[in-house]
Symmetry: C2
Subunit: 347 residues, 2 copies
DNA sequence: CTGTTAGCGCGTTCAT
DNA sequence: ATGAACGCGCTAACAG
């Protein structure tokens, strides 16, 4: 357990002052070439690394970026984290990644933790941007931040994500175009995330454009899909509307739904069609591939870093950007052939 | 952008010295109850948070744990990260998560970064524990660490993971028991990870116990499975051994393999059987479920934290522990029925 | 019980 | 081109 080597050690080693060493380490101020070489030699010989703690204390910048995501095990956020990690590395920043488990209290305490670590900015996806204590605290502390995946309709906060409303509306069009008229939606609880709400609203809007009502709505816990099995069993084992097509507000839910449906003896897509949201790899790899809305998760992460940096350096109040999504056809949405396709009403 | 509130601010606010404030904040030393209350009131009123940077400087402990994993988008490591994150949170530590992208150079530079941030310990899964410059650097710096997933056979480093060799050998037994005799393996490149090597060696060992040779070995890039498609196409479109069963050294690879096989007109498990390794959710959700070796990823993360703490506090040289794995049956390994099952040779 | 003081390692004036 | 000295915010050791 060797004591950590400090700037003083290498100054002594070179017979120089710590000021000079600091200059060459930070490449600031004029230093004689020969001196630079001597210092650099000592640095690599002794294995010196400037202490970020001391630096943070002195410069009021820790070169870290706080990150809060709902869950690391959701591929969507894992990809986003990977994207932002890669981008921030190229900029010399180190991300401090915390997860909130879709919990408002944890979300807030994560912000407190990040504040304590004096992060230079925060990249986060909150449960609900409209009522987030975390964002309030960030505003209060004056720490710049950029939302990821949340795209608030009202506030003018920096954000990068996809237009969930429009995408969901497009999904509705696709499902209708395939001839389905008895359509259901499976979603995370609206009280939890704004994305679930936006996707629901967009989907409804898309249906209503065609004069179609949503036949079933199932809401489940977003972390472990509690209640999915019972809800589906009830729908397919009891009288009532039995959708021929479902829209799931995310791919994890879609995959779980498929498994449940098969359990109930309904095959996807032969008996029932299904569309997801996110475009995660697991959905693309299955056969037939999951029909879904692919969101550019990696890019959302990297763009969020850039947006944050723009905010910091140019002090521009960038209201954020919407990235484009892509409907991937997959094979889980098929034409409804059992009954003749009813023509859509006027649109 | 309000200036950050320091210990001095709240001392002034209370008409006390900073020492007293520090005492109540850290709950150390005797302080009058009334004073405690006054300080606490001021703390929450002004929104004070002790600066971790200053603390780290003073106490030589940053209350952070460095984490290095190959990739955030691999569910195995994402789960591990989630497990360790949760556990370290309960202990008051904040994890600093970096990924190496299976790259030795990035692995080392990640260690340097963590050292600069003065982490109190490091949890990492390294490409190859036997030749890791990262581990050397950690030893040199005297920073305690615990390996995750790597289980080195020679060194006496702390580690937590699963016995890849034995698990792979068991997979071989299962495949043989199902009657298969023409068996292939698909793996990440051996030069890259020790896990791939251990699983290969274990699988070979299991086959050899029964006097069976490995019919095909396909090695692909671990990050994007480059070369998988071509290799499989070559095998199934040209004369030569065409395995009736494959062992894939991880589930991501297994899923990709299934997709490729279907592309080639071979159905899993009707035409060819397949076993994976890891037990990721995406494999469990598909139908039929992927037969695999489930590793306790979450637990590997949390146990690694505990192992590290034991090392730090008890200064015990804990050589690490092997957690148990579990063969999950799934449905992608089926009895070979086309040809009569050949009896296994003596074992 | 409370206050004073000395650094932790570093970047940054201001001298030289 | 280089050095001396101060202080970032905090904890710990010592006084009172």
């Amino acid at each position: 357990m060797s004591r950590t080597v400090t700037i003083r050690d290498i100054a002594q080693h070179c017979g120089l002052s710590i000021a000079t060493v600091s200059r060459v380490v930070n490449n600031k101020g004029a230093v004689r070439a020969e001196t630079v070489a001597r210092v650099e030699a000592a640095v690599s010989a002794l294995g010196y690394r400037p202490s970020m703690a001391a630096r943070a204390l002195k410069t009021a910048s820790s070169m870290t970026l706080g990150v809060i995501i709902p869950s690391l095990t959701n591929p969507v956020f894992a990809e986003t984290a990977a994207g932002l990690q890669q981008r921030s590395r190229t900029l010399g920043y180190t991300p401090l990644i915390l997860s909130s488990d879709y919990d408002d209290a944890l979300e807030l305490s994560a912000v407190e933790t990040l504040l304590a670590y004096q992060v230079d900015g925060v990249l986060l996806t909150v449960n609900d941007a409209a009522r987030s204590a975390a964002l309030q605290r960030l505003d209060e502390a004056g720490v710049p931040y950029c939302l990821m995946h949340n795209v608030p309709r009202e506030q003018i906060t920096a954000h990068v994500g996809v237009d969930n409303f429009c995408a969901a509306a497009e999904v509705a069009e696709r499902i209708l175009a395939a001839g389905h008229r008895c359509i259901g939606m499976i979603s995370g609880e609206f009280v939890r995330t704004d994305r679930a709400r936006d996707r629901h609203a967009g989907f409804l809007s898309g249906l209503h454009q065609a004069g179609v009502q949503l036949a079933q709505l199932v809401q489940v816990d977003p972390v472990n899909a509690t209640g999915l099995a019972q809800a589906l069993a009830a729908i397919y084992n009891q009288p009532g509307a039995q959708p021929t097509a479902w829209f799931c507000s995310n791919d994890l839910l879609a995959l779980a739904t498929i498994a449940q449906l098969e359990q109930l003896g309904r095959r996807v897509p032969d008996d029932v069609s299904l569309v997801g949201f996110d475009g995660i790899q697991a959905g693309a790899l299955r056969m037939p591939a999951l029909t879904s809305v692919r969101t550019p998760n990696l890019e959302i992460g990297s763009t969020a870093v850039d947006t944050l940096m723009a905010q910091r350096h140019l002090s521009a109040l960038d209201t954020g950007c919407q990235l484009s999504y892509q409907l991937v056809a997959g094979g889980t949405l098929t034409l409804l052939t059992d009954s003749p396709v009813q023509p859509l009403s006027e649109r």
